[in-house]
């Protein structure tokens, strides 16, 4: 009986199964068709397309899977996890599309199959992070995401920078994973289980408290902070972002973050806080300084990210520090610990996908033409490649958070959550950070449009495929800044089981 039940449950993981099948298929194609490029792309894109259709299909359902003898499930498919899966899948889709145009390294084309396989493995990692309710299973998903990412960061074989990025990522990643699993082991030692629901019940009974529990939480947060590149585990970010192939950087900046954030949300919503809402405010199960910890990391991330970004000369490093700052903004939304904050984080994430992916896309396109990612070489791009330059400006304005772009709506909701939670000072601080960030985002635009080029740009020209992709990301960035109801509805639906 239990076996058939488990088999039945396994078949309910449709998106995961399809994804695994696509990974295996890609491996096969890579092996037997000598890396037929068209076939690889068609299979991978269709595969992700099918996964997305499945995900949208189950985006409002909840299903408990693998219910053990003690009555608690190992995995649950529910809307919040599905939201994260959709974000990860969409960014993988764009990454594969970006790969087709990236001309950084000529040998990359021959090894597209490897890239796709590893990329989809990271997506699978996010999938497991999104629906698991057991710390060991969560950790497995976490590592699947991490280890594949280490390899992908070093994917650009000819570049020593890329290898350096990979190694740095690996060393930092290994260290923070180790800290995290130590935290998990403490939690296991305290409670005798790795299942989230049982731990929550034990915490709720008030049997546990004190330094050891706090230590476990801080260690768990270390692993998460690494994944979302938040202070003080952000040091890998600029080097890895700079060294990795740009289309992977784009993916890393979004999918790795959603992986970390879904884990954080899972821990907060299902482990350390009371189930559901009685009021709009989240109630922790034991009196730990959640507010203080989250506010500390949040302020640290945005301040460090924005202040250091001011001095960057390389656009990828600049966007890396901007991504650290954005981790801070997102954490501020969680630090509000109320329902508006949760919705705000998801809304922000959907918009962040658009604007960050878009920014990196334009970086790839411009690098194809001028073979540089240094800001001083961007001089005069505005008149030579107007569409790219205007699109990049739209993405940067959106990252700054100015209306009428999507980024403003995201920031507006986070600020609203903070004011509502009486965290007016944090709100003020967040917006002050946006003012600082304006300086370096605008500096990019200054190079694009105002500064005069020192040398002729030669025959740089825009291509149709790149232009279309840019528009696909830039137009919604504006439209969602004016009509944002659909995304709001999506975020609300994702939190169906958590909102009052």
């Amino acid at each position: 009986m239990e076996l058939t039940q488990n088999l039945h449950d396994l078949l309910s993981l449709r998106a995961e199964l399809v994804l695994t099948a696509v990974i295996l298929l890609l491996l096969g194609i890579e092996l037997f068709s000598k890396g037929n490029k068209t076939l690889l792309r068609v299979v991978s894109l269709t595969g992700i397309g099918v996964v997305l259709i499945l995900l949208f299909g189950e985006s409002s359902t909840a299903q408990k899977l693998f219910i053990g003898s003690n009555g608690v499930p190992l995995m649950i498919i529910e809307p919040l996890g599905t939201f994260a899966k959709i974000i990860a899948s969409i960014s993988a889709l764009f990454t594969i599309l970006f790969m087709g145009i990236n001309r950084e390294d000529s040998t990359m084309v021959r090894r597209e199959g490897e890239f796709m396989v590893l990329l989809l493995c990271t997506v699978l990692g996010v999938f497991f992070l999104s629906s698991s309710y057991d710390l060991i299973l969560l950790y497995t998903g976490f590592e699947l995401l991490s280890i594949s990412s280490y390899a992908l960061a070093g994917y650009n074989k000819r570049s020593s920078q890329s290898s350096e990025a990979s190694l740095k990522y690996l060393v930092y990643g290994a260290a923070s994973s180790a800290i995290m699993i130590y935290g998990i082991s403490i939690l296991y030692g305290l409670t005798g289980t790795t299942n989230i629901f049982i731990i929550q019940a034990i915490l709720g009974s008030g049997a546990l408290s004190g330094a050891l529990l706090l230590m476990a939480i801080v260690f768990l947060l270390a692993g998460i902070a690494f994944k979302i590149s938040a202070f003080p585990f952000h040091f890998w970010t600029p080097d890895v972002y700079e060294g990795a192939p740009t289309h992977f950087t784009a993916y890393l900046s979004v999918a790795s973050k959603i992986g970390g954030f879904i884990l954080l949300l899972r821990l907060i919503l299902d482990l350390f806080f009371r189930k559901g809402f009685n009021s709009e405010i989240l109630q922790p199960v034991s009196d730990l300084p959640w507010n203080d910890i989250l506010i500390f990391i949040s302020i640290g991330s945005m301040t460090i990210g924005n202040l250091v970004a001011l001095w960057q000369k390389n656009i990828k490093r600049l966007l890396a520090y901007s991504s650290i700052a954005h981790a801070g903004y997102l954490l501020a939304g969680i630090a509000a610990l109320n329902s508006t904050g949760l919705v705000a984080v998801l809304v922000y994430f959907a918009f962040y996908l658009l604007m960050n992916m878009g920014a990196f896309l334009v970086v790839i396109l411009i690098k194809n033409e001028i073979h540089s990612e240094m800001l001083e070489d961007y001089n005069g791009i505005g008149s030579k490649l107007p569409l790219y330059a205007i699109a990049l400006s739209i993405f940067l304005v959106s990252l700054t958070g100015l209306p009428p772009t999507a980024g403003f709506i995201g920031k507006f909701y986070i600020l609203m959550a903070l004011v509502n939670a009486d965290l007016v000072l944090l709100a003020f601080f967040l917006f002050l950070n946006s003012v600082i960030s304006l300086y370096y985002y605008v500096r990019v635009m200054k190079h694009l449009f105002i500064s005069k080029p020192e040398k002729e740009l030669g025959e740089a020209k825009q291509n149709v495929y790149g232009g279309v992709l840019t528009l696909v990301l830039a137009v919604p960035t504006i439209i969602f800044g004016i009509f944002f109801t659909p995304i709001l509805r999506l975020a609300e639906a994702a939190l169906k089981f958590y909102l009052p």
């Binding site: 709009e280 109320n338 329902s339 508006t340 919705v343 008149s383 304005v397 100015l402 209306p403 009428p404 403003f408 507006f412 909701y413 600020l415 609203m416 959550a417 004011v419 509502n420 009486d422 007016v424 709100a427 003020f428 917006f431 002050l432 946006s434 003012v435 304006l438 300086y439 605008v442 635009m445 200054k446 449009f449 105002i450 500064s451 009509f483 944002f484 109801t485 709001l488 509805r489 609300e492 909102l499 009052p500």
Partner: protein, 534 residues
């Protein structure tokens, strides 16, 4: 009230122009310019129609029923569970006697700036597209009656302005542009936070009886709409209304610009191309004062009453300090920039009086300063185009070979000084009359009056250095005004005379609203509600 979407058209006409400009090939320079001219010209015509259809007896200010040409449609409606995401933002435009003069000013100045932009040579397409976007932002800001909408328009102005100064400006354009951008965005921090605080504190009941938080500015003016525990609610004993007032005030004061937040202005003016200086001085500075009157005064009347002395003090500092700074300048544009600081001080002083005469004078001064300073910047532009210098000491005796030009200059300078018969005189005397009536700020008013003398000092001295005396050898073959320059200067000069002789043209337009505004700011009692609660 007609169903014709007058205000929408007024706001978005420039955007339509912008789309057309964007679609034209960039070689068609004159077609691009003509498109811009037509768009801004139609805006003036529409503004004229609005004026013709304006009912002088309706006050507006805090009553949605007496606003005119109102357009209100739901923009964002998100109605779901009980969490805070339930949000309702209206596309809510309307005009009253406070915004009507500003709308007229914006349309007029934009049109004149478009003419003045005719000699822009570099990336014409980009320039006019941004110019039109800026125009929409300004118009929308004056017309919006929904705080969210207002904020969107307010911020839309920043980026075009940054590029217009940064790309088409003078030698230190990059510095000036980013300084302008960062100062204004810093001010926006406060505005946005206060907006969110008010939103969370104000309820509006819809037709179906459901209560919503609202961004409706007019609802924020009525104490009975506030929730019990909102952080900006008068019912909440720990409310932050005082801090919110200060924050909002600073946000708008940066735009005025009020001392000590004025330092971006001289830089921006000196580096900006002439038409952008005209817009900056003519319209953008008014947005700050308009914001204070529309938001601070009407939404926080009880705190306004407490702080009038401080507003008057900063007004006085602006007047005196601006005048002294102007006196020390050697650059023609910088001089006018500082004279703007000084003249906007009169607006602050008039606002501090809280009576019909003073506030009326302040709003009239906003309009007059817009026209006079626009004229002054155009005049500087005229000589700068011909000589490529703005040094006050490089000129001299221009009256000898540019008699017509000098004639216009004399009109503008004397209007700025406040010569009777010209428009500046009326508004300045109203400001002083109003402010002098109020005992608490009388001393400040008396000191401020010295600004008139100082103003006459630097203006006359400038005229002497530039227009009178012996003609500088270098400029003997300068040509007098051409046709394009006439078309810019004549309308402004006519207005300066007209409003000097018949100020009632403008005063009647805003009279009813100013009375209602004074009523709102002096009578609305947020305090008694609070004590009633306790």
């Amino acid at each position: 009230m007609s169903s014709f979407p007058m205000l929408t058209l007024l706001t978005f006409l420039p955007i339509i122009g912008m789309v057309i400009v964007m679609m034209l090939p960039k070689e068609k320079r004159s077609l691009i310019k003509i498109t811009t001219l037509v768009a801004t010209g139609l805006q003036v015509v529409l503004a004229g129609f609005m004026w013709a259809g304006f009912n002088y007896s309706q006050a507006g200010i805090n009553n949605p029923a007496t606003f005119q040409f109102v357009e209100r449609i739901p923009w964002i409606t998100f109605d779901s569970g009980s969490w805070l995401g339930m949000i309702k933002i209206d596309y809510f435009l309307g005009v009253d006697g406070l915004s009507a003069p500003m709308v007229l000013l914006t349309a007029l100045i934009s049109f004149i700036a478009a003419i003045s932009s005719w000699n822009i040579e570099r990336s014409v397409k980009g320039y006019f597209a941004l110019f039109l976007l800026l125009d929409t932002g300004m118009m929308g800001t004056f017309l919006a009656l929904d705080f969210f909408l207002f904020y969107v328009f307010w911020e839309i102005m920043l980026l075009p302005m940054y590029f217009l100064i940064g790309i088409w400006g003078g030698p230190r354009k990059e510095y000036a542009a980013i300084k302008f951008f960062i100062y204004t965005l810093f001010g926006s921090v406060f505005i946005l936070l206060v907006m969110i605080g008010l939103y969370l504190s104000v309820n509006e009941v819809t037709g179906e009886g459901a209560t919503f938080h609202t961004f409706n500015i007019l609802s924020m003016m009525n104490p009975s709409n506030y929730t019990q525990d909102g952080i900006l609610s008068p019912f909440n004993p720990d409310n932050l209304r005082f801090i919110a007032f200060i924050g909002l005030f600073v946000g708008f004061a940066i735009k005025i610009p009020m001392f000590p937040f004025h330092t971006w202005l001289p830089d921006a003016h000196v580096e900006a191309p002439t038409p952008i200086s005209v817009i900056l001085a003519g319209v953008l500075l008014k947005l700050g004062a308009y914001g204070i009157i529309r938001f601070n005064y009407s939404i926080f009347p009880e705190i306004t009453r407490e702080l009038v002395w401080w507003i008057a003090l900063f007004g006085m500092i602006n007047i005196i300090y601006g005048a002294f700074c102007a006196m020390a300048q050697k650059d023609f544009k910088k001089l006018i920039a500082y004279s703007s600081v000084s003249h906007m001080g009169y607006v602050l002083l008039g606002m501090a009086s809280l009576n019909e005469v003073g506030l009326g004078g302040a709003v009239l001064q906003m309009f007059n300063h817009g026209t006079i300073t626009a004229m002054l910047f155009l005049l500087v532009g005229v000589v700068y185009d011909r000589t490529h210098t703005r040094g006050l000491n490089d000129f001299g005796g221009l009256a000898n070979n540019l008699p017509v030009y000098t004639g216009f200059a004399i009109v503008a300078f004397f209007a700025a000084i406040g010569l009777p018969g010209l428009s500046g005189f009326i508004s300045e005397s109203f400001v002083f009359l109003g402010a002098f009536k109020v005992e608490s700020i009388r001393l400040l008013t008396i000191i401020s009056a010295a600004g008139i003398v100082l103003g006459a000092g630097y203006m006359l001295w400038t005229m002497q250095r530039v227009y009178l005396g012996k003609l500088n050898e270098k400029w003997t073959d300068l040509k007098d005004l051409d046709f394009r320059e006439y078309t810019m200067l004549v309308p402004l000069a006519v207005i300066v005379f007209l409003l000097g002789i018949f100020p009632s043209i403008m005063l009647d337009l805003m009279n009813t609203s100013i009375n209602e505004l004074v009523n709102q700011v002096t009578k609305t009692d947020f305090h008694s509600i609070m004590s009633g609660m306790k």
